[in-house]
Symmetry: C2
Subunit: 318 residues, 2 copies
């Protein structure tokens, strides 16, 4: 029998990475390219595909590529296209799933990076065996993936799960989406930075990023601690509302801000529990993602393939 | 071949009703009982079951009962129990699905009334053929059912879809749930009544209900018109946020307040579109339910049975 692997490809604003991943979630080989080196997306696909072919040869003769999963900003599962991604230089609709299928001659599946990571959490992380959970990435923005009854929620148009763009403070901070008060303007690396600047009265400076604020908070800096508390307060409030939609068993937090540990988890959990509707109290866990930062993008993308290939193990029915 | 019927049973705070419904959504016979006549829920089940048996005989010898669907406040699909329903006199957990199964000797399915009506909309109403939609009941409170990929969202504990208890105005109006600012304290028959009293400065009175405010608004009363505008503003805002969860193709409004037609739909749609994230704009319809007020509870409950019986017609896959 052949050793089956899935390619996990993540297209980012800066880097594009891929890895070959076996069905146990082991990354056998990985490589990376600079996205900005490729003004034409099809050229990037050619370059990545050539590297994937080389990597397959590295893995030996007995290897079969069962499919390629792709995580990308604004990646649409249904259309297989990147749709008007604000953080990429390519404009309009990019049929990325089709491009990869042409080059790799295998099944390809595209979705956005947060959805991909959510499926990675389900297959290879802390959500193993869970059928209903939320996955939240706290990066530059706030991304999310919603899993209901063991299946990703894509919505009628493939664009479901944009919790970062629920408005939690009407008339609040200006968001990159052009509206005001979106969750991600408060609860993200960018958001906590703004909160810290407001609380400390410090002048804006490039050295002030979420890591720096984390270091200050660990050292007992009151403005930094306050920034974490306020961020957790709002995140807990927003997550309590989100439970009223899909009643998940757990909410996983991933990304730079989640690495701050109890500094962010403690105020989030406290606000979450106090804002929950009674029927949900004490039932929903807020947990750190069990995916390593460095592996999550590749594992998530590859798990798009394994999710559908291994479906007898993850049945669609109750 | 036998004529197959499903029993649709709705347990309400005041009345409990049932009907025998064929697979085309035709109600063949119906009857009602006063819920409050039965301090013991099992006695109500006995009485309703006896009436259902009689109704089956009325339908002739060639009739087969394929199952009974039950809609009830706080009805849990997974446990088959009514769980701590604040509007019923029975306390704690009531294993209603089991009671009916014992008496009727058929398959029984329980869920809350809004979920049941949502499935009714999918099988027999305006959501035929839709796989992703929201169903909102604007009654005394605000109930909701979420359908994703053709399936009801129940969540890990059977309690998903409580949009009426998402907090839209922190520190806002006191809700029956004990928290403040829940959507249903603004967008419901009770909510618009409060808004009208606030705007008009009128003294509280039993004659002021949502119907009365509707009549005033039709007559051009400025406070009543303002109450509808403000209710629609907030509802549109909340629904725009809800799209970011499951990206539905449509949102159906049902219940007394929805019967006010454009008085409520126009401000709701306007606020909805202006608050939507760009990727969703112009894609999501806000529509009146196509279920008749008098039939919805019975049809919804019966459709719980037909949904699962007719599943080849409504496949679980994309």
């Amino acid at each position: 029998m052949k050793n089956r692997v899935a390619a996990g490809i993540d297209i980012g604003g800066t880097n594009s990475v891929f890895g070959l991943v076996d069905e146990n979630g082991k990354i056998l080989v990985r490589d990376t390219l600079l996205t900005s080196d490729y003004p034409d997306p099809q050229e990037l696909v050619h370059a990545l595909s050539a590297k994937i072919d080389t990597a397959l040869l590295q893995c030996g003769k007995n290897v079969e590529l069962v499919g390629a999963g792709i995580g990308a900003p604004n990646g649409n599962y249904f259309s297989g296209c990147i749709e008007y991604a604000p953080n990429l230089k390519w404009e309009g609709l990019i049929p990325l799933a089709e491009y990869f299928a042409d080059d790799l001659d295998c099944r390809t599946i595209l979705t956005n990076d947060a959805n991909a990571a959510a499926i990675g959490e389900m297959l290879f992380g802390g959500a193993k065996g869970m059928k209903d959970f939320l996955f939240i990435t706290l990066g530059t923005g706030l991304g999310s993936g919603i899993v209901v009854n063991g299946e990703m929620v894509y919505g009628h148009d493939g664009m479901a799960g944009e919790l970062g763009h629920t408005i939690i403070i009407p008339g609040g901070r200006l968001c990159g989406c052009g509206r005001n008060g979106c969750l991600e303007t408060y609860c993200s690396a960018t958001g906590i930075r703004k909160t810290y600047l407001e609380k400390s009265g410090k002048k804006d400076s490039v050295k002030i990023d979420s890591k720096y604020i984390f270091e200050l908070a660990k050292g007992g800096n009151e403005s930094a601690l306050e920034a974490f508390r306020l961020t957790g307060d709002l995140l807990g409030f927003a997550l309590a509302n989100s439970v009223a939609y899909t009643s998940p068993a757990a909410i996983f937090l991933f990304g730079g801000l989640a690495l701050a540990g109890e500094l962010i988890f403690e105020p989030t959990r406290k606000s979450f529990e106090s804002n929950l509707l009674k029927v949900y109290k004490g039932k929903v866990q807020i947990l750190p993602s069990q995916l390593a930062e460095s592996d999550a993008a590749i594992l998530g993308a590859a798990s798009l393939v394994w999710k559908e290939t291994l479906s007898p193990v993850y049945p669609h029915e109750n």
